[in-house]
Symmetry: C2
Subunit: 396 residues, 2 copies
């Protein structure tokens, strides 16, 4: 593990042509980044002016990349599929530090207090934790388990999320386990393991209040639920019949569970393989409704006020986006913002949504009340969109 690049504060202040730092007076609450997956760059965007301010290059393989923000909203951490973790500054549009921390990585998280950044890895299977300020390595948590043949193996890790108090939760795809790592002392992680949760957890989410952790199961029916507010948390099975089931349908793209939406008292979930969005009561975790949609849902995301849920789809329906009214539970609008819609992100108070259309090299900004397109930005092969307001939210 080595640091490949470090630019100190003095260097970061110097302006590059076409990549000027922002005016001193400008805040970062309305900034964000869009991942340009093919070119290894981030576009830095302004959600007030609705324009691209600049870009940050040299980030490696950004397929399936994701971003978390430090407390100040200027520091951001980019988790590349190639196992690189890069600390960037969106105000100065510079790379601050970069480590090659694994061979194959699938995202990360930042601790509640902003002091620790954690990456979840497929190869070698486990979680690595870094000092958010310097990217110095602090903890290495190999996801070891005993396989059926008695040998010790390492599992791929999925569904990593932050919990209150310097804790992280994640799932072990190959070991059928959920682990909670407490890094109160970052050099000595304390791990609580939940085994036998169900076969092949493939992704997971923590609810916005940090209370429930839910892992989707690829190997059997239903999902695994952990209520972290219980004195002695136990995993229980919910929504039997929701998962892949005993007669799995063909799945063109696995839904992203982090995209699941909690809107008021209900969770809105992508049905795997089916052209449906499921509505579950978010207390009893029982199914209460299904809403037919235009394809296999990938992201199912609630507008911040919970009044609308926006859905994008797997191939061949990935040029469409549908909007569901959560009161009437009906699709109220179908949009076609461009080819290969990969991601959506709401502005912090929800007046607009930004949508990536990879194959049209376009990000569309859509008014969530009128459904008018407010702006179209040229961004080469855009995928994930991450706004700095995530700094203030749990589980993102």
């Amino acid at each position: 593990m080595k640091r490949r690049n470090f630019l100190g504060a003095a260097a970061a202040i110097a302006a590059l042509p076409g990549c000027a730092p922002l005016p001193t007076s400008r805040g970062t609450g309305d900034l964000g980044v869009v991942i340009q997956r093919a070119s290894g760059k981030l576009a830095v965007v302004d959600t007030t002016a609705r324009e691209v301010l600049g870009e940050i290059a040299g980030l490696g393989d950004l397929s399936h990349a994701s971003v978390v923000y430090g407390r100040d909203g200027a520091s951001a951490y980019v988790f590349g599929r190639d196992g690189a973790l890069t600390h960037v500054n969106v105000r100065t549009q510079r790379v601050l530090a970069r480590v090659q921390q694994a061979g194959n990585s699938i995202g990360g998280a930042i601790s509640q207090d902003g002091s620790l950044v954690a990456a979840q890895n497929y190869t070698p299977g486990g979680v690595r934790v870094f000092d958010a300020r310097t990217l110095a390595p602090l903890a290495d948590i190999p996801a070891t388990y005993t396989a059926a043949d008695g040998s010790t193996q390492r599992s791929r890790v999925v569904g990593l999320a932050d919990l209150p108090g310097r804790r992280f939760v994640f799932a072990l795809f190959d070991a059928d386990q959920i682990w909670v790592a407490d890094l109160a002392n970052p050099r000595e992680p304390r791990i609580t393991k939940f085994a036998g949760i169900g076969r092949q957890p493939y992704d997971a989410l923590v609810t916005p209040d940090g209370r429930h952790y839910i892992a989707g199961l690829f190997g059997e029916d239903g999902l695994a639920l952990l209520d972290l507010w219980q004195a002695e948390p136990k995993v229980r099975r919910i929504l039997g019949g929701y998962g892949r089931g005993e007669q799995p349908l063909p799945v063109y793209k696995m839904p992203h569970l982090r995209g699941w939406a909690v809107a008021g008292r209900e969770a809105w979930l992508p049905a795997i393989g089916r052209h449906e969005v499921l509505v579950a009561d978010a207390l009893r975790w029982e199914e209460v409704a299904r809403v037919p949609v235009a394809g296999q849902p990938v992201f199912v995301m609630a507008r911040p006020d919970g009044r609308q849920v926006w859905v994008n789809f797997a191939v061949p329906d990935y040029h469409r986006v549908q909007v569901i009214d959560t009161v009437t539970r009906r699709v109220v609008r179908t949009l076609e913002p461009g080819k290969a819609v990969l991601h959506m992100e709401f502005t912090p108070r929800g007046e607009a949504v930004w949508i990536s259309s990879r194959d049209d090299d376009r990000v569309s900004v859509v008014d969530t009340a009128s459904f008018e397109t407010l702006a179209r930005l040229d961004v080469p092969q855009p995928s994930g969109i991450f706004f700095s307001a995530r700094a203030g939210r749990m589980g993102l």
Copy 2:
């Protein structure tokens, strides 16, 4: 209405001794302000370093002052009791613009898209709306009504809050009305009036999802509820027996309704005059429990995850703060952070709370898990605390 002070971008960049602009690389997501009510100043604070970075002076009478943030989190708007509205920048720590917009004002709000700032006034009674960028006046909404004697009067306005889509909602204390103002065209506000809502609405709040508007009634029992998601919203009475009632108790300080906390499926409310916090179901709006506390509650605030509710009190119990666990509904801790606790503000992800103790000239930063005091800051006569993450929230 005149602009008294305007500093352009060029002037704002120049540093003053002891009041330096922040480094170019620094974001604004972890900044905030504390109102110094006696000196007409704001302390600019850093919630990561837990320190005072500087101050902004010349803001007039800041008793009962409040602050809202622009979308970028650097622009902030200060509503003074003397009717002044001041636009400041917390990064440069400078006053950008200032208008004397009324004789007696009681707070304000910013529109969902950040383009409009509205002030609610006692004298002259009404709401005035300004361009958030320049403070140019855009709309004047006099709160006129027909009094019992047939004359036209102006009511004092309370409980102003933003609603999705360039709308504001507010209550008319003297007219027993709630108004919704739609400023899609800011120069031609469209007003929807709800009359006969109950006697003397004295403060109000909008729930975090923007769905429910609730006004407390001073002149009779219960509260007025408006469900803004209904196709044709109507006001209904809720929680009879909660309000002042037919045999009012002495009230040492009116609770702040904006402080009411929605935690999960419940709203936690200060009982007027009683040493109790009420718990109401946030869907049916019926009382489900009461929690005995150490005095007359003033602010009842949920930690962002909803697991805890923090309460401060009116005289003579205003040196105490109590913490309620929302699962067990019991007081789990009583703190004495200093004399005359006036306000509390959680960090965006809730790991800490900042508490103003006016008569000890102190702001305390308390860990919400361990209840340890993490820092004590010297701030002269501190009152309201407002962190920049409010920029991304509705109704704040």
